[in-house]
Subunit: 410 residues, 2 copies
């Protein structure tokens, strides 16, 4: 990251003190970022210099063309944290995010520009790296709306810990959280740098509860992106909602409800795959389970990848994934998926600890619940376990000069 001259953000101010300047600084970087942000991002790898605005009507990182790498983190507020602490944290996070998404250090003094006799403001591992399409998306969990922060009356409808589903085997230490941050970038070092520095900025106010790295995006939000493959070897996300489908976004993704208007709900599910078992299933059975061919990704009812599945016949089995997950079978419900593959080493039997870190955005948590209940009959369940879960309200984008979630405190 470079630290270009920014007269608005004089060095020597404390990180918290700097927040007052976010309006001017944010505006300055917003102009440059806006131009680049309109470029269609392609799967351009870690040399990508594309930038996306942090400020806007919606938060970035939802309809943004899905980047190659994810670092996701969930936080709990510190035990003695106050409403003022929460507001200040969101302000500080917004300031740092508005800078990092433009390829800048977390503050103007950065990793090397401050006093040599003080710890650097920025941890430095992204120095010299481009913005790499970084987006940082913040969310508020159900716990934030208990009696600690005076937000009891502003809990969005439906923001409740998800019900138990068939096949759940949840590790509660890798589930839930008062706050979440989704950092996506084309370079994992940039995404990791963002989560690490935001965790550091939270010190004394919120503490990291769990985090997850992911790679090989398993969906697409732009028609220019190829459909990627999950670790079962199948194309995933063929029928995802795309960024230019305003009608679908309005119908299925963006909330229109009070302070959450132009925001959404995010569901995360850590889905462990029994890949060694899956790899011993014959090809025809794998295809019947998905309801699509493995090579082309075409529905078993015929056509190519983008042909609509025809459920009138029996080519697509009743317990296939594509049938049970399809809007036609779920009262028209659709979600915007944004998942990633993960591999976290291996277990003691020498099997890779691998799977899908599922992320979806939807205007109503009930939409996810409807789909997940439908999937109770999914033939794929023999090969997966849900080991982590969380839900968060995703506030609208911060206005230039303001901070994410400001509407909650007005």
């Amino acid at each position: 990251m470079t630290t270009p001259s920014e007269p608005q953000a004089a060095s020597g101010l404390s990180r918290r003190g700097l927040f007052g300047l976010v309006g001017a600084a944010g505006l300055a970087v917003g102009i440059g970022g806006g131009v680049l942000g309109t470029l269609a991002a392609t799967r351009s790898g870690s040399s990508s210099a594309a930038t996306y605005d942090f400020f806007g009507a919606h938060q970035a990182g939802i309809t943004t063309p899905v980047q190659d790498h994810l670092h996701f983190a969930a936080f709990d507020m510190a035990k003695d944290a106050t409403r003022a602490d929460l507001i200040e944290l969101l302000q500080d996070w917004s300031y740092a995010a508005s800078r990092m998404t433009q390829g800048l250090d977390t503050s103007a003094t950065g990793a090397v520009g401050g006093s040599p006799e003080a710890p650097p403001d920025d941890t430095g591992e992204a120095l010299g790296l481009p913005a790499s399409s970084l987006t940082i998306t913040f969310g508020f969990g159900p716990g934030l709306f208990d009696d600690r922060f005076g937000l009891e009356n502003q809990r969005p409808d439906g923001l409740e810990t998800l019900p138990a589903f068939l096949g759940d085997d949840l590790d509660l230490k890798k589930s839930d959280g008062d706050l979440c941050i989704q950092a996506c970038a084309d370079d994992p070092q940039v995404a990791v740098h963002a989560i690490r520095n935001l965790t550091r900025i939270a010190f004394g106010r919120a503490v990291l509860r769990w985090s997850q790295l992911g790679f090989g995006r398993t969906s697409r939000t732009s028609s220019e992106q190829q459909t990627p493959r999950n670790l079962f070897g199948f194309k995933d996300g063929t029928a995802n909602i795309l960024a230019d489908d305003d009608a679908a976004l309005t119908d299925h993704v963006w909330s229109s409800d009070g302070w959450l208007a132009d925001g959404s709900f995010l569901v995360a599910r850590r889905i462990a795959m029994r890949i060694e078992t899956w790899d011993r299933v014959r090809l025809s059975e794998q295809e019947r389970i998905f309801g699509r061919s493995k090579g082309e990704g075409a529905p078993l009812s015929g056509g190519d990848e983008f042909t609509d599945p025809d459920f009138s016949g029996s080519e697509i089995p009743a317990d296939s994934h594509v049938r049970l997950a399809h809007a036609e079978q779920n009262d028209g419900v659709r979600i915007l998926r944004r998942g990633y593959n993960y591999v976290d080493g291996n277990d003691e039997l020498g099997q890779l600890s691998a799977g899908l870190f599922f992320l979806s955005y939807q205007r109503d948590p009930q939409h996810f619940i409807t789909l997940q209940k439908s999937l109770a009959r999914d033939a794929m369940n023999e090969y997966i376990r849900h080991t982590g879960s969380g839900i968060w309200a995703i506030p609208p984008g911060a206005k230039t000069g303001s901070f994410v979630g400001a509407g909650l405190f007005e």
Copy 2:
């Protein structure tokens, strides 16, 4: 991956049966790969179609320009495995590696080309992805030379479990192994696909013992690569041995000893970093610990990143990393480093489980031991712990039509 027509590898043969064809098939892909392999690979991200030959005098993945992503795996031979099993495993691994490094499936029948009534040969998640500069490098641990495989008399000098070092806090479940595979690529999905499929091919003969993902290479082997940064935020690998420095490679990297000639020794060390503690150290102290400036990476004795450090004065402290690790201070010993950053979630205190997965190639294990003993006085030790360790003999490259390690069985 595409599966172009390959008359040499008729479908319908078993994976093991296919090995007889590796000569012809290897030659065919070798020609195409050789041309592309001579291109200087740049940090081109996951869209990279660069390929490197699997066959050659040296194994690829040592002097190859360091790719962005790593999946490293260590294996133990199955309890009842025989010498014949070991040979067959190395043959099957070589065949699959010679294909995957060219962007092909593990076999000609691949993920979708075989019988629909059989499990696919290839797991499929790299279908359609380019080779992404994939290299696959195999190694033999000390355990392979015990009395199980008739190799007692061929143990390379010095191939012994590393001695205990100050600061070791080794997890033996994440250390050692009869065999290792280093898979490096510009797309993590390609590296993961390689390790997953090689693990699957090993079934019944060897079992995965541990594995590690890494990103953000922490060294360079080409003068065209920029020096990357480790998670302490410092440039790492400025003075690494480069691929075009034949004299240094001969002096420090390539063995000239019997069947290991043109091979090397690989040392792996999983070095956990106390990054939250480090981040609270003042800048001047961080720089004194490294002996270099954080921004430019220049030695504290002056100049720029590539200026030789001057140890005659006191600018570079006696316990600084650059001084203790430098060849001048270690009887001229140099190693070729090829490490990666890692983040494996977080601990229960909300601290990221992050660090450096150190990999080095050297012609003599004693060279690493000399350096590591010198580093016992390193001021950096307050901020790191070595939690994993391993050493492997790295055989020379396989000859076209042969397999890696063949010289060991002649």
